[in-house]
């Protein structure tokens, strides 16, 4: 998204240097920008739930599983292993949280979920790294195995327990959550005053200091830790070199297979943790089908984020937010989003035309006009469609941004030891 590609495909090196890099705190600016746009939208359309603290708190919880799955994808794909089995590892995680959480308490549940996810990662690592199985085949197989295994295990372990059954575990305890009482109350007053932008910001801050689960905090810390480890340590440099050019890395003495193996294990652990968040924070027990394709969405968020942690956060924010809107009396909110989409498409289209991309620009403007027409003709979006929002957004984003994305050069390729010659 950041590097403007010229029509000829030749990029001026000087221009890239000065214009191509976003400032380091872009994520904060983006967040403030998004809040500003949303509060504008709220005022224009009257869809008050767009920025209520309830929505934001729910969004935070919705973001975390997607972000953790995406982080898992980031680790493994940066080491060159495509991990479509994240969904299966998450499923394993939900069961692990349910089983260990019920028997040994919430933090044991977290540990169990991480271990179960790592187990899935181990299978993927053995298949892809040791045996050279195609990464997508292995991932699909893991998704099938994990689903079957968890249904089998749930029937085995939960059916005889009180409150449990074939498809769900008994209630499990929650991990501690954090509330800063006086601050929360004060911010509530500001939020209720209904001031433009100020109230919206207050709602955001209130969501951050009211009933914030420690797992959510841990997850955001893990995002920062991932960024630091992968981009600021020599371990990370080696890990990424394995994903870019394994032969070159091996010729420099990097143990390619070992790095790939550990990256996939970490990936599984993060996906398992995502399962724990689903079972313990987003709900209070293991349930069959709890993941609902979030592993795939996480992967999409990672691609959206151009295989970078900051972008991944932005991607999961987008998906988590639209998912939340779809769930909370979504009709009106998603209807309001249509207007935003139309305006966005209009600007994007005009910008594309000015860049010389006439056809693309015209298509985007056309889509925007259609969406605007839709906004005028209907009052609310049917519930079946609000559920589709994240998927449609993923498709649109990939369709319009995929040429600007650059994945690790050796991503998805099978590497056999000694290929460096």
């Amino acid at each position: 998204m950041s590097v403007p590609a010229t029509a000829t495909g030749v990029v001026d090196p000087v221009a890239t240097k000065t214009r191509g890099r976003l400032p380091r705190y872009w994520i904060v600016l983006a967040l403030l920008g998004a809040m500003l746009a949303l509060s504008l939208l709220r005022v224009v359309t009257g869809a008050d739930d767009l920025t209520s603290s309830g929505t934001i708190a729910a969004t935070l919880i919705a973001i975390v599983p997607i972000m953790l799955a995406g982080l898992g994808g980031l680790w493994s794909e940066r080491a060159g292993v495509v991990n479509i089995g994240l969904e299966g590892m998450m499923i394993l995680g939900t069961w692990g949280a349910g089983y260990f959480g019920y028997h040994h308490g919430p933090w044991a549940g977290v540990a169990g979920a991480v271990l179960m996810g790592m187990l899935g990662g181990l299978v993927h690592a053995v298949a892809t790294v040791l045996f050279g199985v195609d990464h997508i085949i292995s991932g699909v197989a893991i998704n099938i195995i994990a689903l079957g295994a968890v249904q089998y295990l749930a029937a085995l372990t939960f059916s005889d327990l009180e409150g449990g059954g074939q498809t769900q575990s008994p209630k499990i305890g929650d991990v501690q959550s954090l509330t800063i009482g006086p601050l929360s109350d004060g911010l509530k007053d500001v939020e209720d005053k209904d001031l433009f932008f100020v109230s919206d910001l207050a709602a955001l801050l209130r969501a951050l200091c009211t009933n914030l689960s420690s797992l959510v905090i841990l997850s955001f810390l893990l995002l920062i830790v991932t960024w630091f480890v992968l981009w600021r340590t020599s371990f990370g440099l080696r890990l990424r070199s394995v994903g870019e050019s394994p032969a070159a890395a091996e010729s420099l003495g990097v143990k390619v297979l070992r790095y790939k193996f550990s990256a996939v294990l970490v990936s599984g652990a993060l996906a398992g943790l995502a399962g724990a968040v689903l079972a313990m924070v987003a709900s209070s027990n293991y349930r069959d089908g709890q993941t609902g394709g979030r592993g795939y969405i996480g992967l999409a968020a990672m691609i959206f984020g151009n295989w970078r942690p900051g972008g991944l956060l932005a991607g999961s924010g987008l998906f988590g937010y639209t998912e939340t809107l779809g769930l909370r009396q979504g009709g009106t909110s998603v209807h309001a989003m249509l207007l935003a989409l139309a305006v966005l498409a209009l600007f994007l289209g005009i910008w594309q035309v000015r860049q010389g991309q006439r056809v693309t620009g015209a298509v985007i403007v056309g889509v925007g006009a259609l969406v605007a027409a839709l906004w005028f003709t209907i009052d609310t979006v049917p519930s079946d469609f609000t559920g589709m929002t994240p998927y449609i957004i993923t498709l649109l984003v990939l369709a319009f941004a995929s040429q600007r994305l650059r994945m690790p050069a050796a991503d998805g390729q099978i590497y056999r030891k000694g290929s460096a010659g």
């Binding site: 479509i84 299978v123 298949a127 045996f131 050279g132 199985v133 195609d134 997508i136 085949i137 292995s138 699909v140 197989a141 893991i142 998704n143 099938i144 195995i145 994990a146 689903l147 079957g148 295994a149 249904q151 089998y152 295990l153 029937a155 085995l156 074939q166 394709g293 795939y296 992967l299 999409a300 691609i303 049917p382 079946d384 469609f385 559920g387 589709m388 998927y391 449609i392 993923t394 498709l395 990939l398 369709a399 319009f400 995929s402 040429q403």
Partner: protein
């Protein structure tokens, strides 16, 4: 010559056998660790099916076969059509609506509905094909997204057109009139031992698949693109065009997947229409190495495991979901064992060549290469 050929035959048979044995072993391990009676489970599953069960196996295999075929078309061109699941649901829904409205009489109605299903399946897959060809979007991600979109779309449309069935909460499309249903074929006595008449179309589709891929210029182009894009481009094939066409064909075949159920037993598309057939298709296509006969074997095996595991809960007290583990593990072990056997064959060949070179008197080193 004969010895080399014999070794080759044994090796190619060894791979699937090894895969099955490994999958059974891993499943048994899971059973033992979980404290379930592994022996009883296998003796239930591996018993010879009764006529009624046999009919069910063939019925399910027909459906799974079409799903595997749809995935295999994409695989031949290195395209992962993970979206068969969404494609067949959109297509089956369309066919149910078209056939239920019965604009045409008798079998014309059936034929028209089938064509509509294939067209809609092709279109749904085509979205991914076009995105891949023109915008470079990975078909893996886009087809997964399209699956979820299909779920929402079909649920919405179903509610718009559906009629409530009498005495139940389920909603479904209009029932297909008697004259447009595809009659079942009997393999024994009574209505429980009937298989779908659609099996004829499935077999025809399998033959067509083999013929088009192996005997036509188009099929050659498709396989060439799958094996080496650069070579394909060099020989004048438009990779973009082939990508879109392959996805369209794959989607059209996917459009057939739900139809045996629709025209043979359900006669209506309701909220409980069988889902998840697309993912089984991926496993079956891999198991059958994208060959129509291999896919048939794979489909029969999967249908056999599904059917035979049904009584597990009652007879042995074990959840039938255990076979899902077996099925998933088979996918992995098949690929791994083919790779291991290939490496072994290469080593065997190298040793043979080395031995032939050591003895300069031996006249025919090419024997070893055969």
């Amino acid at each position: 010559m004969t010895r080399a050929r014999l070794i080759k035959l044994v090796l190619s048979l060894a791979a699937p056998v090894l895969a099955l044995v490994a999958a059974f072993a891993i499943t048994s391990l899971v059973l033992v660790v979980a404290g379930d009676p592994a022996g009883d489970v296998w003796s239930t599953i591996l018993s010879w099916p009764e006529e009624r069960n046999l009919a069910n196996i063939i019925k399910n295999a027909t459906v799974l076969y079409l799903s595997g075929l749809a995935v295999a078309v994409g695989f031949r061109m290195n395209l992962f059509n993970i979206g068969v699941d969404g494609q067949y649901r959109v297509a089956a829904f369309t066919a149910a609506v078209v056939a239920g409205e019965a604009w045409l009489p008798g079998y014309l109605n059936t034929a028209f509905a089938i064509v509509c299903a294939m067209a809609v399946g092709a279109m749904w897959a085509g979205i991914a094909g076009v995105l891949r060809a023109t915008r470079g979007v990975s078909e893996v991600i886009s087809t997964i997204m399209l699956n979820s979109i299909a779920t929402g779309l079909v649920a919405y449309l179903l509610r718009r057109v559906a009629e409530r069935e009498e005495g139940s909460n389920q909603i479904g499309t209009k029932e297909i009139p008697e004259g447009s249903r595809i009659p079942n074929i009997s393999i024994g006595e009574g209505p429980t031992s009937e298989i779908y008449g659609f099996i004829v179309i499935a077999i025809a589709a399998g033959f067509l698949f083999w013929f088009v891929l192996n005997k036509t210029r188009f099929g050659f182009d498709l396989r060439a693109t799958g094996q080496s894009t650069t070579a394909a481009v060099a020989s004048g094939i438009s990779v973009k065009k082939m990508t879109i066409v392959a996805m369209l064909i794959s989607g059209a075949v996917a459009g057939l997947v739900g139809l045996p159920i629709l025209f043979g037993s359900a006669y209506t598309y309701g909220s409980t229409f069988q889902s998840g057939l697309g993912f089984a298709g991926i496993a079956i296509a891999l198991l059958g190495r994208n060959h129509p006969i291999g896919i048939a074997v794979g489909a029969l095996l999967f249908a056999f495991l599904d059917e035979q595991s049904n009584p597990l809960q009652i007879l042995v007290g074990v959840s039938p979901d255990i076979v899902a583990i077996t099925q998933g593990v088979i996918v992995l072990t098949v690929v791994i064992s083919y790779e291991l056997i290939r490496r072994y064959a290469v080593r065997l060949e190298q040793r043979e060549v080395a031995r032939a070179l050591e003895r300069p008197t031996t006249p025919a080193p090419e024997e070893a290469k055969a």
